[in-house]
């Protein structure tokens, strides 16, 4: 039986605690008494994913204690939250998103799910999670005033852990918050603890923002705390291009799994993942920074 206190642990377990040899999507991934933690790790060399790594190439510590890990690349269904900034400053980006939305839908598999949330001053769910691969109803997306970016990210990340599914949040925005109630510090804290990987794709409509560290520091911190990334303006040609790269990466990421040993299960667990390979300095590694142990 699962200990009630380990509910938060389930969140991490749900990231991919599947036996390597089994097809992932139909299985109950976490119903053992052991505290199995799964951590998604993406490794890139420049713009290309690094493949062929083994457990021996990684070192993982949980609250400073080294853990024995198993490794896999698993086809776990994705719950994708698309988050679209609909403030007037991003009008061009919205149009590009609309035109690329159906192609984005085709990149998803039938076992994946997708929902669309838009935000200006108000945060609105245009449609809730629906089966991937089907056309997305994006007609209701309209430009409005204000930008509650932080609030929208908090609300998008606040999704309960679902066994056998991974949550990916991809936000298209210029990164310029004007009307949120939550500050950057709160957002980073939430991103570190929520069950989801956050990617922020900056449109660059306010290109100067990226050159102002205070405007993007908290956003980058939030993305990196969740194991995701902040993609600066100009990195991608289109929303479709950005989405394809992020999803490909997410699918090709390694899942490190371990049974917690040598640390108390309660409270916050700080995670550190490193590569032991000599070439590691040339690689970029993204993994979430921790989890709640209940």
């Amino acid at each position: 039986m699962t200990n009630p206190r380990s509910c938060a642990m389930l969140a991490l377990a749900a990231v991919g605690a599947l036996p390597v040899v089994m097809p992932a999507q139909e299985k109950q991934v976490f119903h053992a008494a052991t505290d199995v933690v799964s951590v998604s790790v993406s490794v890139r060399a420049g713009r290309s994913p690094v493949t062929g790594l083994t457990a021996a190439d990684f070192e993982l510590t949980d609250n400073g204690v080294r853990q024995d890990i198993a490794i896999s690349i698993e086809q776990i269904p994705i719950d994708l939250t698309l988050l679209l900034d609909t403030s007037p400053s991003t009008a061009d980006a919205i149009e590009k998103f609309r035109s690329g939305a159906q192609q984005i839908a085709t990149l998803l598999r039938s076992q994946d799910r997708v929902r669309l949330i838009t935000f200006a001053t108000e945060v609105t769910e245009i449609f809730p999670f629906r089966t991937g691969g089907e056309p997305m109803p994006v007609e209701a997306v309209t430009v409005q005033g204000g930008t509650s970016l932080h609030d929208a990210l908090v609300l998008a990340l606040a999704r309960g852990p679902i066994e056998g599914r991974r949550h990916l949040v991809v936000a298209f925005t210029d990164g310029h918050d004007t009307t949120s109630v939550a500050d950057g510090e709160t957002l980073a804290f939430v991103a570190a603890r929520a069950d989801g990987e956050l990617h922020l794709v900056l449109s660059g409509a306010y290109g100067t923002d990226y050159t102002q560290p205070p405007a993007v520091r908290s956003l980058r911190q939030a993305a990196e705390q969740s194991g995701g990334e902040l993609h600066p303006p100009g990195r991608f040609n289109s929303a479709l291009d950005a989405f394809k790269r992020v999803v490909d990466d997410f699918r090709q990421s390694y899942v490190l799994r371990y049974t917690v040993r040598g640390v108390k299960r309660e409270g916050w667990h700080a995670l550190e993942v490193k590569l032991k390979k000599a070439a590691a300095s040339r690689y970029t590694l993204h993994a979430r920074k921790g989890y709640f142990g209940g």
Binding site: A158, P161, T178, V181, G184, R193
Partner: protein, 422 residues
């Protein structure tokens, strides 16, 4: 015979006169040439609204046709605004028996027009017309009446909605500024629109509250510079401790003196924020505005890290009013103060109480979800957010109104104002 030039002596006075005539002739000739050139290249500028059409618009508006104001607001020009100023006064006094109602109607027309210009470059025209209407009331010598009082409330709500705080409190309060000229706008900008309202209705505490709200809004970025790009969030409004310490030094050294006067570009500082806190505390003793004054006193106290005092104010609100807007705000801010005190359970309870007052309010939902996630209660946070997204459209969030003064009352105030003359 040699011709001799006849040179007559000319007196200096005549010489000057000749020079002037010559100059004037040349200038006239040049002007004529310029105007003929101009006529070749430009069509004469057409003033969109004539005297007759201003009269017609005001007649229609006074009869209940609000679209007349929208028509006037379309594609405004400075000339059009000037024509209105010239003609509307005549329209008001065209019928003596109904003059007070016509004055209120013309002033109300100005507000409906200005609403169309809110948030646009045309707001500059709105300032001028509101100043004109204010001058109409102030210079009439007529006794202050309820219609005028409503107009002042509505105009202050509208200007608050445009976040034009300097227009409300004037330039003189902070720096002295330059002396006002004769034009109504100069006078308004110098003294502040609220000053004129308070002069006409000295017993109405809402105008004192509006002035304090303007100062509060102007002080919002104090101590937060460079810390966070989000200037509007409640949490981002908290003043950094070193800024408070520096300002505290001044208070300790000069307890009875005024703070050093700053240039306009510097705006208010921590000392002014503390002064705003004291203003709200005083206003909280006035029964008709006590609940809102307590909410605002509570938030300002939080910003200057006076958490216990903040809670004293915030917990008063529910005893004084059943207005969901004020209860929501008081609970929302209370939750944030409780977080600062590391009293997580109390913070969660406060956010939940806010959501009872205004279900699915975005700011309380966000803060509650964030706190629950921080506490590791992910499933509970997800339930709160699922409830928020489940029903559409989302409820209007009182926090959106908070930073806009009394703009939330705009619609109801205008409905009442129009009833005064129709």
């Amino acid at each position: 015979m040699t011709q001799r030039a006849i040179i007559r002596p000319v007196s200096p006075k005549k010489a000057v006169m000749r020079f002037r005539i010559l100059s004037a002739s040349l200038a006239g000739l040049m002007a004529l040439q310029m105007s003929s050139l101009s006529a070749q290249t430009r069509t004469p500028r057409k003033i969109p609204f004539s005297t007759a059409s201003i009269y017609e618009l005001l007649d229609r508006y006074a009869g209940g046709d609000v679209t007349a104001a929208k028509e006037f607001a379309r594609n405004p020009t400075p000339k059009q605004v000037q024509v209105f100023e010239d003609q509307a006064g005549r329209w008001v006094s065209a019928d003596k028996p109904t003059l007070p109602k016509r004055r209120v109607a013309a002033a109300s027309f100005v507000l409906d027009v200005s609403r169309e210009w809110q948030g646009t470059m045309n707001w500059v025209h709105a300032r001028r017309l509101i100043s004109w209407a204010c001058h109409e009331f102030g210079s009439s010598g007529a006794p202050a009446e309820p219609g005028e009082q409503l107009w002042f409330q509505a105009s202050i709500a509208l200007v608050g909605g445009a976040e034009d705080w300097w227009f409300l409190i004037g330039r003189s309060g902070f720096t002295g500024g330059r002396r006002p000229g004769k034009a109504p706008l100069d006078n308004e900008v110098f003294h502040g629109h609220i000053t004129h309202a308070a002069a006409r209705f000295p017993d109405d505490p809402r105008f004192a509250l509006a002035a304090a709200v303007s100062l509060e809004s102007l002080s919002w970025e104090v101590g937060a510079l460079g810390r966070d790009p989000n200037r509007r969030g409640i949490v981002a409004g908290e003043i950094e401790s070193d800024a408070l310490t520096r300002a505290g030094d001044w208070d300790d050294l000069h307890p009875a003196s005024e703070p050093p006067r700053r240039g306009l570009s510097a705006g208010p500082g921590v000392v002014e924020v503390r002064r705003v806190a004291r203003r709200f505390e005083t206003l909280a003793t006035q029964p008709s505005i006590a609940a809102e004054a307590h909410v605002r006193a509570g938030l300002v106290a939080y910003r200057i890290a006076n958490h216990e005092q903040a809670l004293v104010h915030l917990t008063q609100v529910v005893k004084l009013t059943d207005d969901p807007y004020l209860i929501y705000l008081s609970r929302l801010v209370e939750g944030i103060v409780r977080e600062r005190q590391s009293r997580d359970a109390d913070a969660v309870a406060a956010y939940r109480a806010a959501l009872q007052a205004v279900p699915r309010g975005q700011s309380a939902t966000t803060m509650l979800a964030a706190r629950l996630i921080k506490m590791g209660r992910l499933t509970e946070a997800a339930e709160v957010v699922d409830g928020f997204f489940a029903a559409a459209p989302p409820a209007v969030d009182p926090w959106r109104w908070y930073r806009l003064g009394d703009f939330r009352s705009w619609t109801s105030l205008m409905t009442r104002l129009r009833a005064e003359f129709q």
